[in-house]
């Protein structure tokens, strides 16, 4: 357990990590992001990085369909961070890996930069294909 994450946020993370990965498989991402993307009151006491680490641990330990992928992690964190008042976006990009393979990736963005991703996150290598919440 990570003491930097308040109990209420650990419970919210657990709830989101249980519910959202299966929903990602069942509901269109456009519709799902509209439900999940509502901004809550800012919680300045929440350590976003500690929350992400908590969610990563939950999802890495889980079996499919809960197991951590960039999309399950991105969807769960998108919901939790927006609930905590952070105006994060969830981006999906695509790139060619060689002549035959097409790869897609999902990641969080805050104020135009990758957020809670590795420092060498290859966002520039991907062409944006969708950003949530979507603008009307």
């Amino acid at each position: 357990m990570n003491p930097a994450v308040p109990l209420v946020w650990r419970l919210r993370a657990l709830q989101a990590s249980l519910l959202l990965p299966p929903l990602v498989r069942l509901v269109s991402l456009g519709r799902l992001s509209a439900w999940l993307g509502r901004i809550g009151p800012p919680d300045p006491g929440l350590d976003d990085r500690a929350l992400a680490a908590w969610v990563d641990r939950l999802l890495y330990a889980a079996p499919p369909p809960w197991r951590r992928t960039c999309l399950t992690r991105g969807t769960v964190m998108f919901h939790l961070l927006r609930r905590a008042g952070r105006p994060v976006e969830l981006k999906i990009g695509v790139r060619r890996d060689g002549a035959r393979n097409l790869a897609a990736h999902a990641w969080l963005v805050l104020h135009g930069a990758p957020y809670l991703e590795a420092e060498d996150h290859p966002s520039q290598a991907f062409a944006d294909i969708a950003t949530f919440p979507e603008r009307a």
């Binding site: 990602v24 498989r25 269109s28 991402l29 456009g30 999309l71 999906i92 695509v94 790139r95 060619r96 097409l102 897609a104 062409a127 944006d128 294909i129 969708a130």
Partner: protein, 91 residues
């Protein structure tokens, strides 16, 4: 009145090195299409008839109407079979 078509509302499109990439937000599947296919899918954000698509293609590319119609027809058939392009109900 000629039939009209529109793309599925869950499609998102982008261009990558001259080819089109299509993401279906419902199925989370993605695939590539030609540049011409991308132009057709971009146009189908609104309902369009085959005549309108042919007009768009001949204006944008150096292609005659017969060839544009054949290419667009083949592409639309594949897209309709895959469920990414839908028949627009008559008004």
């Amino acid at each position: 009145m000629s039939p009209r078509f529109r793309r599925h509302a869950d499609l998102r499109l982008t261009e990558l090195a001259g080819e089109g990439i299509v993401l279906h937000l419902g199925s989370r599947r993605y695939f590539s299409v030609s540049g011409t296919g991308l132009a057709i899918l971009e146009a189908l954000i609104e309902p369009r008839s085959m005549d309108e698509l042919v007009e768009m293609l001949t204006a944008r590319y150096e292609v005659d109407a017969a060839r544009a119609r054949a290419s667009a027809g083949e592409f639309l058939e594949r897209c309709r079979a895959a469920g990414v392009v839908l028949d627009e109900p008559a008004a």
